[in-house]
């Protein structure tokens, strides 16, 4: 494949990006309003009231349909570069979500988030280490699965793989398992949340703790309640997400130390080195936005400025999620198997169910902010 440079690279983005924008425009302008009035099975707005469909879920579904049906499993060359901007949009959206908080509100909810997440992260890591040994799994794969199930799914697996010398083929199976689990929980969790009448705070806390792949936490929260504002599911879920993302380098360090402890020729790793290499610096942007919001530089809550900012945010997320959907190849997910599937399913289901029980028992419906 010929490598593109400079302006050619920018121009190459346009067709795919324009396609994503057009899709989102159609979904938000025509499909979503139609869904609220359409009469299906004798009920007006059945798609919204019963299936809880909104533009976020539609965006992901549209992306998945493009990839799996329209394009038969492969994003075509003309759209490839444009779709690659998907991560840029989601990262930008996450940073802008920082504007939903003030430093005080983060401090209030952050304590609960850190306690819950750290308990579940290290609990899951220890479970996978034990269960993986029981399944006679390769040690390096145990390390990857422990990171993947413990903290952030695919991101943690990717961050840990080179450090523990895992086999790429096994990692591919692990990714399929974790991603498959994340996607399934993305569609199922809103139903369970509505069924159990969880408040936005409880829902954010639950999916933020229980969903295996953090990439789907935001989408799940937005699917539950598409409103982007303080006090909504996405505002709470994102705090959980940020804590998880920040903990990746620490988890990678912990697992790397565990892995090389038993190896003859230990590899020299330092926590500082791992943080320098792996810390996702876009999170700094999130905190910068929180600081600006705390200083009142982004407009007052309820103002037209904040409203416009959130509309921009919702479009940015929508674009990112169409791309995310298009990176999901159902056939690849179906290939998940072997030890990663067994361990991933056991850890994932335990975490998902246990997190729900803990949230129902210990997290109040009323949020701290």
């Amino acid at each position: 494949m010929e490598e593109k440079h400079g302006m050619t690279k920018v121009v190459a983005i346009i067709p795919g990006l324009a396609f994503m924008v057009l899709t989102l425009y159609i979904l938000r302008t025509y499909v979503e309003p139609w869904m609220t009035t359409a009469v299906i099975l004798g009920q007006k707005g059945w798609l919204v009231k019963v299936l809880h469909l909104n533009y976020i879920l539609l965006a992901i579904i549209a992306g998945m349909l493009y990839r799996n049906l329209l394009w038969a499993g492969k994003i075509p060359a003309w759209a490839e570069e444009g779709f690659r901007t998907t991560r840029l949009f989601i990262k930008a959206g996450v940073m802008m979500l920082g504007s939903l908080y003030t430093i005080q509100s983060l401090a209030k909810v952050g304590g609960v988030a850190i306690t819950l997440i750290m308990t579940f992260v290290f609990g899951t890591i220890l479970f996978v280490m034990y269960y993986g040994r029981f399944q006679k799994m390769d040690r390096s794969l145990v390390g990857v699965m422990a990171a993947a199930c413990g903290v952030c799914g695919v991101s943690a697996a990717i961050a840990t793989t080179p450090a523990v010398r895992a086999k790429p083929a096994d990692v591919a199976l692990a990714i399929a398992t974790v991603l498959g689990f994340g996607i399934a929980s993305m569609f199922i969790s809103p139903f369970i949340g509505h069924m159990l009448h969880l408040s936005d705070y409880q829902f954010g806390a639950w999916v933020g703790t229980g969903i295996l792949n953090s990439g789907q936490v935001l989408a799940t929260c937005l699917a539950y309640n598409p409103t982007i504002a303080p006090g909504t599911a996405v505002a709470y879920g994102e705090i959980w997400n940020v804590v998880r993302v920040i903990s990746i380098p620490f988890v990678v360090f912990f697992i790397t130390m565990w892995y090389w402890r038993a190896e003859a020729e230990a590899e020299h790793v330092t926590l500082i080195g791992i943080i320098k290499d792996k810390f996702p610096i876009f999170i700094i942007g999130f905190f910068a936005m929180t600081a600006f919001s705390s200083l009142g530089m982004l407009g007052a809550e309820g103002s037209a400025t904040i409203q416009l900012m959130r509309t921009v945010m919702s479009w940015i997320f929508g674009l990112g999620l169409i791309g995310q959907g298009a990176y999901i190849d159902v056939r690849e997910l179906k290939a998940a198997g072997g030890a990663p599937l067994k361990v991933g399913l056991a850890a994932g289901l335990c975490k998902y169910a246990l997190a729900l029980v803990v949230v129902l028992l210990f997290v109040s419906k009323e949020a701290n902010f």
Binding site: M1, A159, A169, D170, I281
Partner: protein
């Protein structure tokens, strides 16, 4: 007759291709494709920041290169001089189909399941059968039940040495 052998870790397929080519007095060309789709495979992962994904993709690429060296060495040991060996980089099935078209081959021989790079997660034979412009000879790969691919095994071996 021109035959293309799509290389993967299966030595049974290499042996069968060589036997068949000798029997038919055909020209055998072997093609090894380095899978460059790891980036797309992890494309949904937006949480990785900084060097994480770059490190991983480099690691996967190194594994591909190690695999290339080993698989080609295995094939060379079986067919020291008579066969041409080509390499390509890209999506494995696309590169095989491209070579079939450009080289005007009459037959493609490959393993099924085809364990080259991420094709272990996909249905390579299904894609090839739909689009190939020549006959396709699929050889059942009895080693495919192993969860760890040779790619990984070889990478670990190379690090150990």
């Amino acid at each position: 007759m021109k035959i293309l052998l799509a290389l993967d870790p299966s030595t049974d397929t290499m042996d069968e291709a060589l036997r068949f080519a000798t029997e038919k007095k055909a020209d055998l060309t072997a093609l090894f494709v380095l899978d460059s789709t790891w980036n797309d495979y992890t494309g949904h992962d937006w949480l990785s920041g900084s060097g994480s994904r770059a490190d991983f993709l480099e690691y996967a690429r190194d594994a591909e290169i190690t695999s290339e060296t080993d698989i080609i060495a295995k094939f060379r040991a079986r067919c020291p001089s008579a066969c041409e060996i080509k390499t390509a980089t890209g999506r494995v099935t696309d590169e095989i189909l491209l070579e079939l078209t450009e080289g005007k081959y009459e037959l493609l021989i490959m393993s099924h399941p085809f364990r080259r790079g991420l094709e272990m997660m996909r249905d390579a034979a299904g894609v090839i059968l739909k689009q190939a412009n020549c006959s396709v000879y699929l050889i059942r790969d009895n080693q495919s039940h192993r969860s760890a691919s040779d790619v990984g095994d070889l990478l670990v071996a190379s690090i150990a040495t």
